[in-house]
């Protein structure tokens, strides 16, 4: 259970990216080799890409990989630098929380208006359902990394 909690986004990403690779490749092979194609491949890959991006962002957040410019803060004295880092973390949390909220609104809108996807006619909210949760996970991982403390 602990392993699952710990590895959740890595597992999601690995499975997702592998499936996307296989689907995209299968479409090429089938289109070239036979008189058929998996006509809706593009829609599935694009949908998967959105999920891959938010859950991948959670992996990166946890490893502190989201790139920042450290030029200015490196010139500050240590106590001031610490304060600035706290402010930066709060600002980042604010944006991520806003992203969760806006993606939640997107989901509610899409469930309300019944929009369907273009190629497969699936409810559009299926593709967006994981977005608010994905951003929430990014937020959690970002806070975890901040609490764990980087070199500061």
């Amino acid at each position: 259970m602990r392993l699952l909690l710990d590895q959740f986004e890595k597992l999601v990403c690995a499975v997702l990216l592998l499936l996307m690779t296989l689907l995209g490749f299968a479409n090429v092979v089938i289109r070239y080799g036979t008189n058929q194609s998996l006509a809706a491949t593009e829609e599935l890959l694009t949908g998967g890409f959105v999920l891959l991006t938010v859950f991948g962002a959670a992996i990166a957040a946890r490893r502190g990989e989201h790139l920042a410019v450290e030029l200015v803060t490196d010139m500050l004295p240590a106590p001031l630098r610490r304060a600035v880092i706290v402010i930066a973390t709060l600002l980042s949390v604010l944006l991520l929380a806003a992203s969760v909220w806006f993606c939640w609104q997107l989901l509610v809108n899409q469930m309300g208006n019944g929009m369907r996807s273009y190629a497969l006619g699936l409810p559009l909210w299926w593709y967006s359902a994981a977005l608010p949760f994905g951003f929430a996970l990014v937020l959690i991982r970002y806070v975890q990394a901040a609490l764990r403390g980087r070199d500061g």
């Binding site: 890595k10 990403c13 690995a14 997702l16 990216l17 592998l18 996307m20 690779t21 995209g24 490749f25 479409n27 090429v28 070239y32 593009e42 890959l45 694009t46 949908g47 890409f49 959105v50 891959l52 991006t53 938010v54 859950f55 991948g56 962002a57 992996i59 990166a60 490893r63 990989e65 989201h66 790139l67 920042a68 410019v69 450290e70 030029l71 200015v72 803060t73 600035v84 880092i85 402010i87 930066a88 600002l91 980042s92 604010l94 944006l95 991520l96 806003a98 992203s99 806006f102 993606c103 939640w104 609104q105 997107l106 989901l107 809108n109 593709y127 967006s128 977005l131």
Partner: protein, 433 residues
């Protein structure tokens, strides 16, 4: 204008947040949200804009080329390839710097996306350049710049969009862009003497021949056979694209599967654990880039709605009657836009303003398109938003500023390249009938 407006507020806040060490992606998003608040328009579109910003099929090449690059590194394919190039031209002046530049330009004919190219070939080039005595930052800068030429050298999604907007032959644009792309690449070589931190010949950091005791010919043959399947990658991808088996975006997927097949079947270096880590790392690496792209989408949206570029470029274009001054102003506007936004957004916002000027002054639309494309390629390596720099920072584990500084010499050579193409429009006509 009494107040700075929403757009001005956004740009100011963005730099403030950057200075405060807020990650670039979040700084873009925060400043854009503040501007939307100020505009009183757009906040109820944010969810849609975020998802639309990511869900672009043409960006899908990014995670797959990152995956292909990671697999090639992890499965030993890249090492063997580099070994071959070492034997082949590593003994010439410039050594691995020369090799890296050549590989970048060659890869430009495979990939249509700058960041995807960094991801695919960056790790192996940076590693071998470092072994050859170059600084890691310099190598990262070289790869960022060389890979930026992927959007100039065909296939290029950017040139497709330009051709449509400018009502110009896309096929001609593709051909016209080849020589200018190579010119920019050749100019990059001028920066090589400044990149070595150690004297490779003195320290023997990297011998051109990694097979002691073998003659040049024998070593070449041996390294060729060792790296055969890896060397076939561009052949498979180019062959597949130009014989119409798959699209440039699908090529990224095929490259990943090919790397898996070579690692699994030929070299037997593939393990489940290794694959798992590779997949997760690739997703994380692609997300670092894609989150910037997604929030930059909000930023670009405000630039569009607030007509930021139209406001200022109109005034700038009125500055002079001299067409060279006007061209310089246009190039400057695109350069500045390139510091903040992605190539496609810039084209949609700027070209409707610049194309009428181009027609009025009777400039060659092909030449102008190539100039714009080289300029947009430069945008991939200019901070604060230089997507190629981000990918390079991600794969080299270097801070963004270090990579940006490493790219500085190449930024200069690229600007010289831009000036050369501007001064000699004939360069775009060499290969055209």
């Amino acid at each position: 204008m009494a107040d700075i407006g929403a757009g001005g507020l956004m740009v100011g806040l963005f730099f403030l947040f950057l200075a405060l060490r807020v990650p670039v992606a979040f700084a873009l998003g925060l400043s854009a949200l503040a501007a939307m608040w100020q505009l009183g328009f757009g906040l109820d579109l944010v969810g849609d804009l975020l998802s639309a910003g990511i869900a672009k099929f043409s960006l899908l090449a990014i995670p797959f080329f990152i995956l292909a690059g990671n697999l090639m590194g992890k499965l030993g394919i890249a090492d063997r390839m580099i070994r071959f190039f070492r034997v082949l031209v590593g003994g010439l002046p410039g050594g691995m710097g020369l090799v890296g530049t050549v590989v970048c330009l060659f890869w430009g004919a495979v990939s249509g996306s700058g960041p995807a190219s960094v991801a695919a070939i960056g790790p192996m080039i940076v590693k071998s350049m470092e072994e050859d005595g170059y600084s890691r930052a310099f190598a990262a800068g070289l790869v960022s710049t060389g890979a930026a030429m992927s959007i100039v050298i065909p296939p290029s999604i950017g040139l497709v969009i330009y051709g449509v907007l400018a009502e110009t032959s896309i096929a001609d644009l593709f051909i016209a862009a080849i020589i200018p792309g190579l010119v920019c690449g050749a100019l990059m070589l001028c920066a090589l003497p400044f990149g070595r931190v150690r004297n490779a010949t003195a320290t023997k950091a990297l011998s051109p021949n990694p097979y002691p005791g073998l003659s040049y010919g024998a070593a070449l043959w041996r390294s060729f056979m060792d790296s055969f399947w890896g060397l076939m990658t561009p052949v498979v991808i180019l062959g597949g694209i130009y014989s119409g088996i798959f699209t440039p975006t699908e090529a990224a997927i095929v490259a990943s599967v090919y790397a898996l097949a070579v690692g699994g079947l030929a070299y037997r270096t593939l393990s489940i654990r290794g694959l798992y880590e590779c997949l997760a790392d690739s997703a994380a690496g692609s997300s670092v880039v894609m989150l910037v792209v997604a929030y930059a989408g909000l930023f670009g949206w405000v630039v569009t709605v607030d007509d930021l570029i139209g406001q200022y470029s109109g005034a700038l274009l009125g500055l002079s009657q001299n067409q060279w001054v006007i061209l310089a102003v246009i190039m400057l506007v695109v350069l500045i836009a390139g510091m903040f936004m992605d190539a496609v957004t810039i084209m949609f916002i700027c070209l409707p303003i610049f194309l009428p000027v181009m027609r009025e002054l009777q400039w060659d639309p092909i030449w102008f398109g190539v100039l714009i494309m080289v300029n947009l390629a430069i945008g991939l390596i200019t901070p604060p938003v230089g997507i190629n720099l981000y990918v390079a920072a991600n794969i080299t584990r270097l801070p963004l500023e270090k990579v940006a500084r490493g790219a500085l010499p190449f930024l200069l050579t690229s600007l010289i390249g831009l000036a050369v193409i501007a001064a000699f429009p004939g360069l775009t006509r060499v290969m055209l009938p």
